[in-house]
């Protein structure tokens, strides 16, 4: 079916779309309203960060886009289709990497490659894809190692390689560097920027790190505190790419954006003392 010009533009500007999304969890202790009236859309190729205090439902938003959760109310769309469940066009990088410990790094990546391209391509081509994904994250030397034999940063790279190997339309990152030390984190952030520039895929990242959000994103979605959290503000990060960490540190506009996020988090939506 031929798409009209208007539809194409819509798809580009609203590649991922959340419409009046509500999420209520029904637990043994009662109901918990996590999200209320969440509305936003993501442009194709855009890098979005979702930031907020812990417990504000940022991960819930990500899991909804991933299709791991279903909204109590409202609709989610990806590339013009309703999100009905998890799918390979929306790859997830989990916070705790979630690699299978009994498989080598290459096998972990291969599991994803096989699933997405298995029916269509030759075995040699599949192996090549796995190899390429491992090389992309700079882990060719550790391809045959098991996850417990490599460092936390390397594990997270394998997680990214596994997600990217699926050639997803949208990459979903759930606090991908949260468990890493500051130096490793900075290093992986720089690498992720490079990879995203090359692949050009759309990305949504959940984070609680203000610097990370400003450095990586095109827009930052700032969420209010839960329960019944929603989107407080959306900040446009209009810094030129490629971005350099060291240069930005002295850039006044970067610092202005950074303080905007900080003001949102610590002035307007400060977390009540627990």
């Amino acid at each position: 079916m031929e798409k009209t010009a208007q539809e194409k533009i819509n798809l580009q500007t609203r590649y991922v779309q959340l419409e009046n999304v509500n999420m209520t969890f029904f637990t043994k202790k009662g109901t918990f309203e996590a999200l209320k009236n969440v509305n936003f859309s993501i442009r194709e190729g855009e890098f979005i960060s979702i930031i907020g205090h812990s417990g504000c439902g940022k991960s819930t938003v990500l899991n909804l886009i991933a299709g791991l959760l279903h909204p109590t109310d409202g609709n989610l769309f990806c590339a013009g289709r309703e999100i009905a469940g998890p799918g390979p066009e929306r790859a997830v990088v989990f916070q705790n990497h979630s690699l299978l410990p009994w498989l080598t790094c290459a096998e972990n990546v291969h599991l994803a490659v096989e699933r997405v391209f298995g029916g269509k391509e030759s075995k040699a081509k599949l192996a090549q894809r796995t190899q390429a994904a491992i090389e992309l994250v700079g882990l060719a030397h550790a391809a045959e190692k098991r996850p417990n034999e490599i460092s936390g940063g390397m594990k997270q790279r394998v997680g990214i390689a596994r997600a990217l190997a699926m050639e997803p339309k949208v990459l979903l990152l759930d606090e991908p560097f949260g468990a890493l030390d500051a130096l490793t984190r900075a290093h992986l952030q720089d690498e992720l920027m490079g990879i995203m520039a090359k692949s050009g895929c759309t990305a949504v990242m959940v984070t609680h790190d203000v610097d990370e959000a400003v450095l990586l994103s095109d827009r930052i979605v700032m969420m209010t505190n839960g329960p019944a959290a929603t989107i407080g503000e959306i900040l446009e990060v209009d810094l030129a790419r490629p971005r350099k960490r060291l240069e930005l540190a002295e850039d006044s506009h970067y610092n202005h954006l950074r303080s905007e996020v900080l003001k949102f988090l610590y002035e307007r939506h400060a977390r009540k003392a627990a």
Partner: protein, 296 residues
């Protein structure tokens, strides 16, 4: 108490004398000679590892000797040892169906255990997977397992005799029914403990049920399953002796009963050791097998 009342002066003199001893000693002895060689260290570690179990066994034999000294009907270690050397000099003789060497008896018991246990594994492990994977079936199975599991294995023997109308299948049936529970339960527990993270990976990658079982469930559950297998084989070996006492034929349990009827008490004690040692060997073999399969 006197140690508390050491005066400062005493301490000073002690410290002084300490120094006067240490300094020249360190200067005189060359450091190389003071260090024991690698071989000496290793042999020392070996003996430290070996001695406690040897002492334990010696203690057991000593207590046994003491008790047998007190009660003349119980043969002591020495006559038992003599009987054992005689018995094991020809373990594989066959005089008639009811008089065979101890080797044949052990093998017959092991065969029954292998059959009963193998059938139990064949049924129990897949059943455990299904119970662990599906909440509904788990709830269905819970009362059945809850009622049947605590039943004494030998209570199943008459049912086996009734259904199979023969002693040998009945004994295997008893092994089967008593060995199946640990495998079902441990496998099911393992499956239910698969981390949600791994299942999320499966969902995001859209893995097929077959891939979920082979790439995620099976490798994760394997250590749990091996625990179940180990417990099961222990139970099976425990039960076989009792079952064979009742069913007769060839087997270590029957042999014990036969020797009791002959009032050959040395042989009963030998049988106790044989049962214990074979059980230990089974346990060790399965533990090392489990270690090989562990991914950690």
């Amino acid at each position: 108490m006197s140690a508390v009342s050491i005066s400062k002066k005493d301490i000073k003199t002690i410290m002084k004398s300490d120094q006067t001893i240490v300094k020249p000693a360190a200067a005189v002895t060359p450091p190389v000679a003071a260090r024991p060689s690698m071989l000496a260290l290793k042999s020392r570690a070996f003996f430290q590892w070996l001695l406690p179990p040897v002492f334990g066994l010696l203690l057991l034999v000593a207590i046994w000797a003491l008790i047998s000294y007190q009660s003349p009907n119980l043969p002591g270690p020495l006559p038992t040892w003599q009987a054992a050397t005689e018995l094991f000099s020809d373990p594989f003789y066959i005089n008639d169906p009811n008089d065979q060497g101890i080797g044949w008896n052990i093998l017959a018991s092991l065969e029954r255990v292998a059959l009963g246990f193998g059938l139990a594994a064949l049924v129990g492990i897949p059943l455990g997977f299904i119970i662990g994977r599906f909440q509904f079936i788990s709830r269905m199975a819970a009362p059945v397992i809850g009622i049947l599991r605590p039943v004494s294995p030998l209570a199943w023997l008459p049912i086996g005799l009734l259904v199979f109308k023969a002693a040998d299948p009945a004994a295997i049936w008893v092994i089967f029914i008593s060995a199946i529970w640990p495998m079902i339960i441990n496998t099911a527990v393992g499956v239910s403990k698969v981390p949600q993270d791994y299942m999320n990976v499966a969902k995001v990658l859209n893995l097929s049920e077959w891939k979920i079982v082979t790439k995620i469930l099976f490798p994760f559950v394997l250590p749990y399953m091996m625990t179940g297998v180990r417990l099961s084989i222990g139970v099976a070996w425990l039960v076989i002796v009792a079952a064979e006492m009742l069913t007769g034929g060839v087997g270590i349990g029957f042999w014990v009963w036969d020797e009791w009827n002959n009032l050959n008490v040395e042989h009963i004690i030998i049988a106790i050791f044989v049962v214990g040692i074979v059980g230990l060997l089974l346990e060790v073999a399965l533990t090392s097998l489990a270690k090989r399969f562990s991914y950690e």
